[in-house]
């Protein structure tokens, strides 16, 4: 239990103290330090007994997401320090507005981790709601008209989503209360799973519809994704990285917990087809939308919708193999997509624009950055030998064997998305260089290499303990 208190306490205390930092440089360093400490403490979770009480718990499922979250938080804090320093140097950001940026970053990390380790429906909800607040403030950081509009749209759409998720949560409690009696334990996952088979299935059905719409909005599933491209496109790049890499995962995690509850009950509507439908819709819609993008960050935002759709589809399909593929894809997409946003941040700095038409021939003008971008885009397009190929291959083969009819839209979506990325990669990496060429700038590429190395390793060789662990979680998911 102490470990959990540390994991939650470090970012919480940092969020309160960081506004007092004398300068943004001290703030950035503290931010890195706290993220590093949180990551180290989260590793300790592997070595201590799994704590469970009515408020917090750790099981096979959330432990790997906690470690992933603290890791991406750490690398993003490194990237963010360089990014913010560059933005201030070039007068894109006002130092006065920065006072709360690092505090909000830590507050966001706190809410993500709280959502993951919460053994309580209410805590989970409050955490996702708090994450909305923290990210909305970060998205509007540059105070341009476009960024404020994006933050407002994000606020309103996700606010409604959050509200509907609360209604779903109340309905779940209403289903639990006659069986388990009133009190805090009737909102605890560990207890709910035990009593689940006795709940009223019709109430759970109704609750799941609200939860799917509510948390689905936060996960960016079509047709509820309208906020996502704006928020990614207009927010500072480190925020785009954590939105895609962490927030979407946590929203999906919430949804999966409720799915597990429905599966445990056994008499409800199958939650799978609903998730398959939304997943496929997101995949196909986002793949098509990839073609007409003019802004590089928006393009990768649509790619995030595509991949979250894929993961939702895999979990909707269910069964050991599909769940395995879903978990692997969720993890590797987080790593790859946040790495891509780091690269895009560097690219936007050296070229001074995020307009796709002005970004051409990067391997010629900036070889290290350009080739890293090529590698990352090859990864996100799902080509071997990188990890996303493994998970997408597993998904397709499982779909062909379990539900052959669904394989057609799945493969179609994957191919259309692949085509769009290949088309863009051509111009981005190999055309004739165009536009401004700043020299220097950039900053460290180490966080990007760390992410991509993990993705590459996962594609070539998955260590046996990791496989066993994924299999255990797959069974848990049903």
């Amino acid at each position: 239990m102490t470990v959990i208190l540390f994991i939650l306490g470090l970012p919480a205390v940092a969020a309160i103290l960081l506004p007092l930092a004398p300068s943004h440089k001290v703030g950035a360093k503290t931010n890195i330090g706290v993220c590093m400490a949180t990551f180290c403490v989260s590793l300790a979770l592997f070595f201590v007994d799994r704590p469970t009480d009515l408020l917090f718990f750790i099981d096979d499922f959330n432990i790997y997401l906690v470690v992933l979250t603290t890791f991406v938080g750490l690398t993003t804090s490194f990237f963010s320090a360089g990014y913010i320093a560059h933005e201030i140097e070039h007068k894109h950001l006002d130092v006065r507005n920065l006072r709360f940026y690092h505090a909000m970053f830590q507050a966001f990390m706190f809410t993500m981790l709280l959502g993951l380790v919460a053994n309580n429906l209410g805590f989970l909800w409050v955490a996702v709601e708090g994450a909305t607040l923290a990210t909305a403030l970060m998205i509007s950081l540059s105070r341009t008209q476009a960024s404020i509009k994006a933050a407002w749209k994000y606020f309103i759409l996700c606010g409604v989503g959050i509200a509907l998720a609360l209604f779903g949560t109340i309905l779940v409690y209403l289903a639990a209360q006659p069986v388990m009696g009133a009190g805090l334990h009737a909102m605890a996952w560990s207890e709910l799973m035990r009593w689940g088979p006795q709940f009223d299935p019709v109430l759970l059905d109704l609750a799941f519809v609200f939860l799917l719409i509510g948390y689905g909005t936060k996960a960016g599933l079509a047709p509820l994704h309208a906020w996502l491209p704006d928020a990614h496109g207009e927010g500072p790049t480190p925020v785009s990285a954590v939105l895609s890499g962490l927030l979407l995962n946590v929203a999906l995690y919430a949804l999966l917990r409720f799915k597990m509850l429905l599966v445990a009950n056994g008499k409800t509507l199958a939650p799978g087809p609903l998730m398959i439908g939304m997943g496929l819709m997101s995949l196909v819609l986002a793949s098509v939308m990839l073609y007409r993008r003019r802004d590089i960050k928006r393009m990768f935002a649509y790619s995030s919708i595509e991949h979250i759709g894929l993961v939702t589809f895999a979990f909707g399909l269910g069964g050991a193999m599909a769940n395995f593929a879903g978990l692997l894809h969720m993890m590797l997409h987080s790593l790859t997509k946040s790495a891509i946003f780091f690269i895009v941040g560097h690219v936007a700095h050296v070229k001074g624009t995020q307009n796709l038409a002005d970004l051409r021939g990067l391997t010629v003008s900036h070889p290290p950055l350009g080739w890293t971008l090529v590698l990352a885009m090859v990864a996100i397009a799902g080509l071997p030998p990188l990890g996303l190929f493994t998970s997408e291959f597993l998904m397709v083969t499982t779909t062909v064997s379990q539900a052959p009819l669904l394989a057609a839209p799945l493969v179609l979506g994957l191919l259309v998305g692949f085509g769009a990325l290949a088309l863009r990669l051509q111009g981005l990496a190999f055309g004739t260089p165009r536009g401004l060429v700043h020299t220097g700038g950039g900053g460290s590429l180490v966080p990007i290499y760390a992410h991509l190395a993990l993705v590459l390793v996962a594609g070539v060789y998955l260590p046996a303990p990791l496989v066993r662990w994924f299999e255990a979680v797959s069974r848990l998911l049903g």
Partner: protein
């Protein structure tokens, strides 16, 4: 529980829904804010009554928050905002008043038909409270969709939230109701402060969300 207790609870819950309809009907900004304050008052009374009847003393805190923040501070802040920024005093609708009322009535019918069969095993009061609460939620949502101005959207959001708190209060023994209420208030406070600090009026020329629509495409 005696019939009188039951009836009073019904009247209070019903008043919250009725005031939701009045929100749809209102054409003037200040009138809208007043009605919202009354709705929050209705919610506070409903929560306090529930606290009194069931002896759930933490619900008094919910009632107090609704009374002080939603019936007091927020309406005051919104009035200041309208005067300060010189926002239009009349409401621009995407869907006329008549059709919105018809749509609202349909939503109430829908939620009654949805909730009552589903909750056949729950206590009678809980079921009816839940149907009323879901109606209020859906009417708040309708208001957010059919009213074009940012202030009316915020009021729609808060009406929706009133419905949610009503539902949470109505389910017996629900833990964390107070905490969730506070989380919502913080969110609403940030939205309103957002309008203040970001001078959304200055930047968008108007709080009319049609201007947001123009941003659907890409940055050029």
């Amino acid at each position: 529980m005696s019939t009188l207790h039951y009836d009073i609870a019904h009247v209070l819950d019903g008043s919250v829904l009725l005031l939701g309809f009045l929100l749809l009907y209102q054409r003037r900004m200040f009138g809208l804010i007043n009605i919202f304050a009354f709705q929050a008052l209705g919610l506070a009374l409903a929560a306090a009554w529930q606290a009194h009847v069931h002896g759930e003393s933490h619900l008094y805190a919910t009632a107090l928050i609704a009374l002080s923040v939603k019936a007091g501070i927020i309406p005051y802040a919104l009035r200041r905002l309208i005067i300060h920024f010189g926002i239009h005093r009349t409401i621009d609708t995407a869907l006329g008043i008549g059709p919105s009322l018809v749509a609202g009535a349909t939503l109430v019918a829908l939620s009654v038909m949805l909730v009552l069969p589903v909750t056949a095993d729950s206590a009678a009061l809980t079921r009816e409270k839940l149907a009323l609460a879901l109606s209020t939620v859906l009417i708040g949502l309708l208001m957010m969709i059919t009213r074009r101005n940012a202030i009316t959207q915020v009021i729609g959001f808060m009406a929706l939230e009133n419905g949610l708190i009503l539902a949470a209060v109505g389910v017996q023994g629900m833990p964390l109701v107070v905490e969730m209420g506070i989380a919502f208030e913080v969110m609403v406070a940030f939205i309103i402060f957002g309008i203040f600090f970001f001078h959304i009026r200055d930047r968008f020329e108007s709080l009319d969300l049609q201007y947001l629509e123009s941003h659907r495409g890409e940055r050029r």
